[in-house]
């Protein structure tokens, strides 16, 4: 706040004139109008007093020019006018519901690196059927996280009671969870469909299983990203390590088994389910967003 240039005319011009009861109110109104630009975000009468004082208004001026016993009384009168007749506010900006800036947080970048490693490894091991669902799923997961975090931040700036905030958090959290369930269902359904296929169709089950892995990995990317965005980076990293260890065990102890791809899908689906539980624990917890 600065008072420079606002009161230039007030003090010298009115010091010399006697105060009458009729003109006191007009003068204070005038002073309040002049003070308004310097007091746009005033929250307390003491702030008004400081502005008036820095503008050269003393107890003597308050008494002689404005008929008030002292500066603080004059500040009270000015503050009353400022608060009682607030300046027209500019149209508030629309609340940001997409937190794009939040996507650049370092912990999310770390998770992206881990996820990229997983997708790359799966692609190298199982072929392009994995990469295709991931190419579609990764941007969708980024959108979902930006949407969720944007709504969370908006809720923090919009609600003033914990009950309303928890309701909002619950609604947004359920929406995010709902968005993360379909990849798990699709992946499991594809893997289940392979089991029912005749054994004389060796190519089709493998392709379906690879697609199932791709869908689960793409969905898992969203799970990990949301966990990292909710301050659960360690959980996300532990989950990734757990799934990677499970797959390594399957590959190491069951070499050449026909059931190996099926088991890999089951390991990833199990990790996905655990991830969903962790997400459910984090997105409804208000302490995740500070």
């Amino acid at each position: 706040m600065t008072a420079v240039g606002i009161f230039r005319w007030v003090v010298p011009a009115q010091r010399s004139h006697p105060v009458t009861a009729e003109c006191v109110c007009d003068r204070i109104d005038d002073l309040a109008a002049r003070a308004r630009p310097a007091c746009t975000d005033t929250v307390d009468v003491d702030e008004v007093a400081a502005v008036l004082e820095e503008a050269g208004i003393t107890d003597q001026v308050a008494k002689q020019a404005y008929g008030q016993p002292e500066l603080f009384a004059l500040a009270g009168q000015v503050h009353k006018r400022l608060v009682g007749n607030p300046a027209p506010k500019r149209r508030a900006a629309r609340p940001v519901r997409w937190d794009w800036a939040g996507l650049f947080r370092p912990e999310l970048t770390l998770i992206r690196l881990v996820a990229a490693l997983a997708i790359g490894a799966a692609d190298w091991w199982l072929g392009p059927n994995v990469a295709l669902p991931a190419l579609v799923g990764v941007p969708l997961a980024e959108l979902m996280v930006a949407w969720h975090q944007g709504h969370v931040r908006w809720g923090l700036s919009a609600y003033d009671t914990l009950a309303a905030w928890h309701r909002h958090l619950s609604a947004v959290g359920w929406a995010a969870l709902t968005a993360l369930v379909p990849p798990l269902l699709v992946g499991v359904a594809l893997a289940g469909a392979c089991r029912g296929m005749p054994a004389d169709l060796p190519q089709a089950p493998a392709g379906l299983l690879h697609a199932a892995v791709g869908v689960l990995v793409a969905g898992g990317y969203g799970v990990l990203l949301l966990l990292a965005a909710s301050r659960r980076v360690v959980v996300a990293l532990a989950l990734s390590a757990l799934v990677a260890a499970g797959i390594a065990l399957v590959a190491h102890y069951l070499p050449g088994t026909a059931q190996k791809p099926q088991l890999v899908v089951e390991v990833i689906a199990g990790g996905y389910l655990l991830g969903l539980v962790a997400v459910a624990h984090s997105v409804f917890d208000s302490r995740s967003y500070r």
């Binding site: 600065t2 008072a3 420079v4 240039g5 606002i6 009161f7 230039r8 003090v11 010298p12 975000d41 929250v43 307390d44 009468v45 003491d46 702030e47 400081a50 004082e53 820095e54 503008a55 050269g56 003393t58 107890d59 500066l71 603080f72 009270g76 503050h79 009353k80 608060v83 009682g84 609340p95 809720g155 923090l156 700036s157 919009a158 609600y159 003033d160 009671t161 914990l162 009950a163 309303a164 905030w165 500070r290």
Partner: protein, 478 residues
């Protein structure tokens, strides 16, 4: 000597004041305590009588009181105190002041072992509850709240959001760390700020029975904590009320109050300080450092000192001055702002010693808001230069007849005053003599040191009563 992030870690008017005080009162030993928002190193030289320094960081990991039952007990007591604290600070009644005091005493008691007093307390929720109770708008959804019926508009707090509550709570948690820092054994504490420095002094008084002297150098509205509100009105409102309640409590608990200016004295009286405890001790400058300047420059030059934000007012004033005195020059002490420089204006760049620069002009003009210690003005007066200043913050009462005072923000009046002083040698001489006399009488370093000797002696006679001290190191205090 307790300050808020200034001496001996940052250069500034308050730090200069502290340094002069410590160096001047060499019969006292000082232990320096500074509350820092960011880590900083000592920049002032270590003096013989102030060998030790305690820094209190406002950020970093909180110290917990252990686990299990101890933590539960701490949390229960601290939550109760936090409720009292928030309710007490958001209202201005006498009852609220008592609640605030009681809350701080409880927190000081439970923080006596160095733990953070508010660890484990759901402070945002407590704060929002107190906020609503204090007259803010009632619970509402995302569409804006309504004022509470029956409350005058002036009493209403800005509508808070959860984010405001979280930010304000975080800042309060950081601020209250100052309560948990033990002050080394001392006869007297001297808090040189009304905010967090007072909090440290209060902790020392309640825990160890050390009386304290309070010297506020600036209004509580301008405390460092206020700058951390981030432009959020609701957060600013909470911090402002916290600091105001703290300042009032400081006035009530201080053994002596020594404001550096009449303005600060007036504010202290307005906020309930006892007139008996108040004694204005103006800031001091050593006259030997600023002996009179004998010669005047040939050309009619004006030396100007002030914040850069004042230049838009000063440059038009100088243009008006040039119309009256065409050969006039303006020497601005400070760096040049970007953009075109008007004719006749020169900038000195950053300077450390100003005396020689005062000698480059026939008069020294000072304008703009300043802290409670207008050192350039005092120095120019001591140098025997005619001075003109704007009446920001009641400066007219400080300078008296020692300088020409013009209303702030009025380039025409400033130009007219400069023109009359530049062209009237007799007026310049009269102002120079009057200014030097006044500065030597009121603002000499020896007067300031004598003032504080008396204030310290007064504080020693007002030892806290035994029942004012906290009886236990943990648990509930009265």
């Amino acid at each position: 000597l307790i300050n808020e992030g200034t001496y001996p870690c940052r250069v500034g008017a308050v730090a200069t004041w502290c340094h002069r005080l410590v160096r001047g009162l060499d019969e006292h030993d000082y232990h320096l305590v500074t509350v820092l928002d960011t880590p900083a190193q000592r920049v002032y030289p270590q003096l013989v009588n102030s060998p030790s320094l305690t820094t209190i960081p406002l950020t970093g990991r909180m110290v917990a009181p252990g686990r299990g039952q101890a933590l539960l007990q701490h949390r229960r007591t601290a939550t109760h105190a936090a409720v009292l604290l928030c309710r007490g600070m958001l209202d201005d009644s006498v009852h609220s002041e008592a609640m605030f005091r009681s809350a701080l005493r409880r927190l000081a008691a439970i923080a006596a072992d160095g733990t953070h007093p508010l660890i484990g307390v759901p402070l945002p929720a407590v704060l929002l509850d107190a906020w609503r109770a204090a007259g803010g708008p009632g619970p509402s959804g995302p569409a804006g709240g309504l004022p509470v019926a029956g409350r005058p508009p002036a009493a209403a707090l800005p509508r808070p959001t959860l984010r405001d509550g979280q930010i304000a709570a975080d800042l309060l948690e950081g601020a209250l760390r100052a309560l948990s820092v033990p002050v080394p054994a001392a006869e007297t504490c001297h808090a040189v700020d009304g905010g967090l420095a007072t909090l440290v002094a209060l902790g020392a008084k309640w825990r160890a029975g050390v009386p304290f002297v309070l010297t506020e150098h600036d209004l509580y509205l301008h405390g460092p904590l206020m700058h951390r509100a981030g432009g959020r009105p609701a957060v600013r409102a909470v911090l402002l009320r916290f600091l105001r309640a703290l300042t009032r409590l400081g006035y009530a608990e201080a053994a002596a109050i020594a404001p550096p200016s009449e303005r600060m004295r007036r504010w202290a009286l307005h906020h309930g300080a006892s007139a008996d405890l108040l004694r204005v001790v103006p800031p001091g400058v050593d006259p030997h450092d600023y002996p009179p300047l004998r010669d005047e420059p040939e050309e009619p030059a004006v030396v100007w000192v002030g914040p850069e934000s004042e230049l838009p007012m000063v440059l038009p004033a100088f243009a008006a001055l040039r119309r009256a005195v065409p050969e006039a020059r303006l020497i601005v002490i400070g760096p040049a702002p970007p953009g075109q420089r008007p004719d006749g204006v020169s900038f000195t760049g950053p300077v450390t010693a100003r005396r020689a620069l005062y000698g480059m002009g026939r008069l020294v003009a000072i304008s703009g808001a300043h802290e409670a210690m207008p050192y350039p003005l005092i120095e120019a007066m001591l140098c025997g230069r005619a001075t003109i200043c704007t009446d920001n913050g009641g400066l007219a009462a400080t300078v008296g007849v020692g300088a020409l005072v013009v209303p702030p923000g009025d380039p025409a009046r400033l130009a007219a005053a400069c023109a009359s002083v530049l062209t009237d040698q007799r007026l310049r001489h009269e102002l120079a003599v009057a200014g030097r006399d006044r500065a030597r009488t009121l603002f000499s370093l020896s007067a300031m040191l004598d003032g504080y000797r008396a204030v310290y002696a007064q504080a020693q006679t007002r030892q806290p009563a035994p029942d004012e001290r906290l009886a236990r190191t943990t648990g509930v205090a009265s």
